[in-house]
Each structure stands twice: as C-alpha cells, then as structure tokens.
Symmetry: C2
DNA sequence: GTTTTATTCAACCAAATCGTTGATAAACAG
DNA sequence: CTGTTTATCAACGATTTGGTTGAATAAAAC
C-alpha cells in the first residue's frame, strides 16, 4: 500500500504534518468539536472560551491551513465549516497502522495456538489487552 | 493556555491531549509507522534517522506517556510495542466528529431537495476530494 | 574485576508556539 | 460621511519543544 515509508517530504506527508499539529492543541480540538455541531463565525466560536478573539482567529487560521476547515463569507462574517474528508484522511492514517499491529498480533496468536498441541483453548480476540 | 482552575478536564481529555500532541511531531509519527511493522529497540528505531539516540529516546518517552506505545525489557534493551487500542481511541474521536458533519450535510441535502419546487438542478455531492 | 552495549538523565540553546495588546481593514447601519 | 461590527495583522513576551553534548546507569561480555 501507500503508507509513506522513509520519503523525505511528500505533499501528503506535509498535509498530515499540518493536520496532526493542528489537532495537538486542546483549544483547537474544542473548536473542531464545536464545528462538528454546525458552522459558526469567529465570534461565535470564541464566545465560550477565556481567550481573546485574536487568539481564536489564529487557531482558525491554523485549522484552515491544515485543511481541516474551510471558510466562506457572509457580509463581515467568515463562517467556518469543518471538512469531513480531512478528518477521514487522519483516521485512514491511524487506522492503517492500527490494523497492521492487530494483524501481527493475530498472527502471533495463531502461531502460539498452533504450537500448543497439547492444549486447544479458543484464541479469540480479547477486546482490550 | 487553558485555565486549570475552572476546567475539570477529564482524564480522557488529558489522554487525548497527550496522544494528539505526541503525533504532531513528524519524527514521532515515523516511529509509529516503523513500530507498526514490528516491535523494535531504541537503537533499531534511531538507526534510519539523522538524529541522536538521545533524541529518539526522548520521543519514545513522549509516545509512552501518551499511551501510544508500551515497553518491555530484554537484557539491556527496552523494546517498544505500538498500542493498537490507543490508535483506536484517536480514530474514534476523529470519526465521531466526521460522522456528525456528514450527517448534517446529508440532512441539508435532503432539505434542499425537498424545497426545490421551481427548479430541479442537480446538487452534486462530492464523494471524496 | 574492566569494558562494551543499550539507554537514560541533565544542562543547555535555538526555534516554534500561544497568548496578549494595539492598530488596521472590510462590510455594513445610521 | 461617521460609527459599529467582525475579523485580521503586527509586534511583543513567556513558555514549550526538539535538538545537541556530556555524564550516568544497568546489564552483559570479557
């Protein structure tokens, strides 16, 4: 599969860099959570938080440059819209690696089970280890 | 910075904070990618990169404190193991919000379709972008 | 014992990050 | 035009981050 190996700088990796970096800030993640409920302007987004409007404006710029949100225009307002596809790219990255780990785990399980020829207990996946 | 006093900040949120922050660094994500292929020691992990062993050691500490990896012991070595469940928690967070956005989008689509009484121009929906 | 291997700790430094205040721009309302 | 709302830009300071080198620890090998 794709799974960017040791490539120096693909555009895709740059995009992931920006997106994960954007989500590393708790306030930005709360903005994302808020935007999941519906589009909102900068003022609306800033209102619940104990920071200045300028700080929120900066955070939104980061989210926008990371491709996580898009912005339109309504008079003086600039409503923000959360981009579902961008979130999907992040889950795809994470889930690809998660699946690799689980596959390896299952193969190890199978190996252990096959080598245990004097027992035969069911080796079902145990949810959380 | 968020107020520590007025905000209870659940343990779950703290865990997400650490995990997303851990993944915000490109080198740490490459370590994760490497560990998805199989467990590895600090030396093995550091070898492909142009940074010192100590730098990688620090990064691994961050990943460990974020719960993304666990570590065992084999003589002087401390092999790292990628935690699939931790990756799963991140995808769950992202995907929850992604689904909210898509549901809202679909409802808006349906509303627009039902209100179209004098036109019938096709409202194309952009599947993947 | 001494030395080698594997990893971490400690101190330090440059650069990035996050927040602030103050000024500016753009679109409206009067 | 004057003033208000909405949002951004610019400069600054405090803190965090990611890297380095050098010393320290722990287990193994000699």
């Amino acid at each position: 599969m794709e799974t960017a190996t040791a490539n120096p700088k693909t555009a895709e990796e740059t995009r992931l860099n920006r997106a994960f970096a954007a989500l590393s800030d708790p306030l930005r993640r709360r903005l994302v959570a808020r935007l999941a409920q519906g589009d909102a302007t900068v003022n609306e987004l800033a209102e619940p938080f104990a920071v200045t409007l300028q700080a929120v404006s900066k955070h939104l710029k980061v989210l926008e440059e990371a491709g996580l949100i898009t912005r339109s225009r309504d008079a003086q307002r600039r409503p923000c819209h959360l981009d579902a596809a961008a979130l999907g790219r992040l889950t795809a990255w994470l889930d690809g690696y998660r699946q690799l780990v689980e596959e390896r785990y299952e193969r190890l399980d199978a190996l252990l089970a096959s080598e245990e020829h004097h027992h035969d207990h069911d080796q079902d996946h145990p949810g959380q280890r």
